[in-house]
Amino acid sequence: MSETVLEVSGLCRTFGDVRAVDEVSFTLPAGGSLGIVGESGSGKTTTARIVVGLEEADAGSVTVRGRRREGRARGKAERLTRAREVQMVFQDPYLSLDPRYGVQDVLRETLRLHFPDADPAPRVAELLDQVGLGTRAAEALPRQLSGGQRQRVAIARALAVEPAVLVLDEAVAALDVSVQAQVLNLLADIRERTGVGYLFITHDLGVVRCVTEEVIVMRQGRVVEAGRTEAVLADPQHPYTRLLLDSVPRPGWEPSLIAAARREVG
């Protein structure tokens, strides 16, 4: 946990007259895991899309392994370098795979692009094994797989590039509780084995507790609180973080008090 693999500083992005991302800065140590928590409209997804390069920032910088990512990627070499810096797993496992491509073909295509000289077959087998998919799933088309299996394919596809940072945008939100737990454990194992860093975008504080070491809380485009995950969840300093925590349903929960508190935070 020494050097920094991802450094984001002073990121801004405006859509019309809405400041979607407003002076957002954070760092991710090599092999670390950082959570970005917020509700819809907090700017967490826009931040993630800027980091992976699907969106451009108006101001600020994204630096991966000491190399600044600026503007749009020009040329194949630049595209491939960027791909090996940051990969992404999307929320919806049903839409993030091309319906016509089988599991093996998805992985082969990526491997061929990034490692044209290597035989993809052993690496495909290794990746499938790494995400807990059997050889039977390797032949399948996305529609023959369950949501959890598809998300495993998406994770394998991202790992195939051997990225330094993996951005997970609500990657377990669409999964059932029992499958979600499997995927979260899988992600923990992968990080331990490969040393990839995670940027975990989520609205679920339970998930954050489970897979991240540090967390930033975003609201209306700004970072309102940042710190070690246990510390932030055990003793939130910002009233909005407290509201988020109180909003998680549990026995003896008083929704009307939260509704009142929500208006107060405004």
């Binding site: 029992s178 499997q182 609205h203 349903p249 009307s256 929500r262």
Partner: protein, 323 residues
């Protein structure tokens, strides 16, 4: 009389090896909040939709679904229409999909009751205004379009619309899933208030165990088309007596639990193409024995109102799921 009384409901879909719903018994008393918890494919949504006879094409249903004492499965089309505009109403997951973006909120609220001939326009508008007040929104919304409202506000509008026909039974199918946690709290608080005010029975369908525990009087846990466990919310969550409920609780990531690995449930729910010989959960259950693989467990009473369909539920006695 119960707001909803489902007795031995079996639902067979074309092209499947086993029924999607296999002998579901479920009751919602007037003014009671009941949560129906399950993962996707468990049949929880079909169960709630059966109360309005919103069944998939080709489905064959057996058993009884009584709404306010009348069997929904056998009633004629006119009665069914009256039921859907009156005694029973449903709130869907996605408020944007449930509203027409080109119609004003006022039309959306008054449409079904005026078309059913229950009220004239003026009466309907008056009721719409009072219900908007009840869900914490002002009458100025009547002239707005769905696109001008936030998701939380729109879901409250949808709830107001569901209450227009003065229903005895309100079915909420993942009604807060699409909302942010803080708006979820508001919608839940609102549903609780409305239930007290109007004495409506509420069936809350959700995948979120924490939410079910927080808001309901009784909870049904469904797995593969069968009720695995039913009981008072507190008892069921403090002392689950079905291994599935226990495993589900352990697999839920919680902000106040220690970090690190979760106790995941291995495997996947059984496929509909696969016939079940014994307990549906046997293949994933740590307690499973030969008996579980051959004999379907009947619900057994473990304490007052707490039933579990498990051969080995006594092994879980005294266990606590909470950390």
């Amino acid at each position: 009389m119960n707001a909803l009384d489902i007795q031995g409901l079996r639902l067979q879909l074309p092209g499947t090896a086993r029924p999607v719903l296999d002998g579901v018994d479920l009751t919602v008393a007037a003014g009671e909040t009941v949560a129906l918890v399950g993962e996707s494919g468990s049949g929880k949504t079909l169960t709630s939709r059966s109360a309005l006879r919103l069944l998939p094409p080709g489905a064959r249903a057996e058993g009884k679904v009584l709404v306010a004492g009348e069997d929904v499965l056998t009633m004629d089309a006119d009665r069914l229409r009256a039921l859907r505009t009156g005694q029973a109403a449903m709130i869907f997951q996605d408020p944007r999909a449930a509203t027409n973006p080109l119609r004003r909120i006022g039309d959306f609220l008054t449409e079904s009751v005026t078309l059913a001939g229950k009220m004239n326009r003026a009466e309907a508008t008056e009721r719409a205004v009072s219900l908007l007040g009840a869900v914490g929104l002002g009458p100025e919304l009547l002239g707005r379009y769905p696109g001008q409202l936030s998701g939380g506000m729109l879901q409250r509008v949808v709830i107001a619309a569901a209450l227009m026909g003065d229903p005895a039974l309100l079915l909420a199918d993942e009604a807060t899933t699409a909302l942010d946690v803080t708006s979820q709290a508001e919608v839940v608080a609102l549903l609780g208030r409305l239930r007290e005010q109007f004495g409506t029975g509420l069936l809350f369908v959700t995948h979120d165990l924490g939410l079910a525990a927080a808001i309901s009087d009784r909870v049904y846990v469904m797995y593969a088309g069968r009720i695995a466990e039913v009981g008072p919310a507190a008892a069921l969550f403090e002392h689950p007596r079905h291994p599935y409920t226990a495993a589900l609780l352990a697999a839920t990531p919680r902000p106040d639990a220690p970090g690190g690995r979760l106790a995941a449930i291995d495997g996947q729910p059984p496929d509909l193409r696969q016939e079940l010989t014994g307990c549906a959960f046997a293949a994933r259950c740590p307690l499973a024995t030969e008996l579980c693989r051959t004999v379907v467990p009947e619900p057994v009473k473990v304490s007052g109102g707490h039933l579990a369909a498990c051969h080995h539920s006594d092994q879980l006695e005294g266990s606590t799921a909470r950390v």
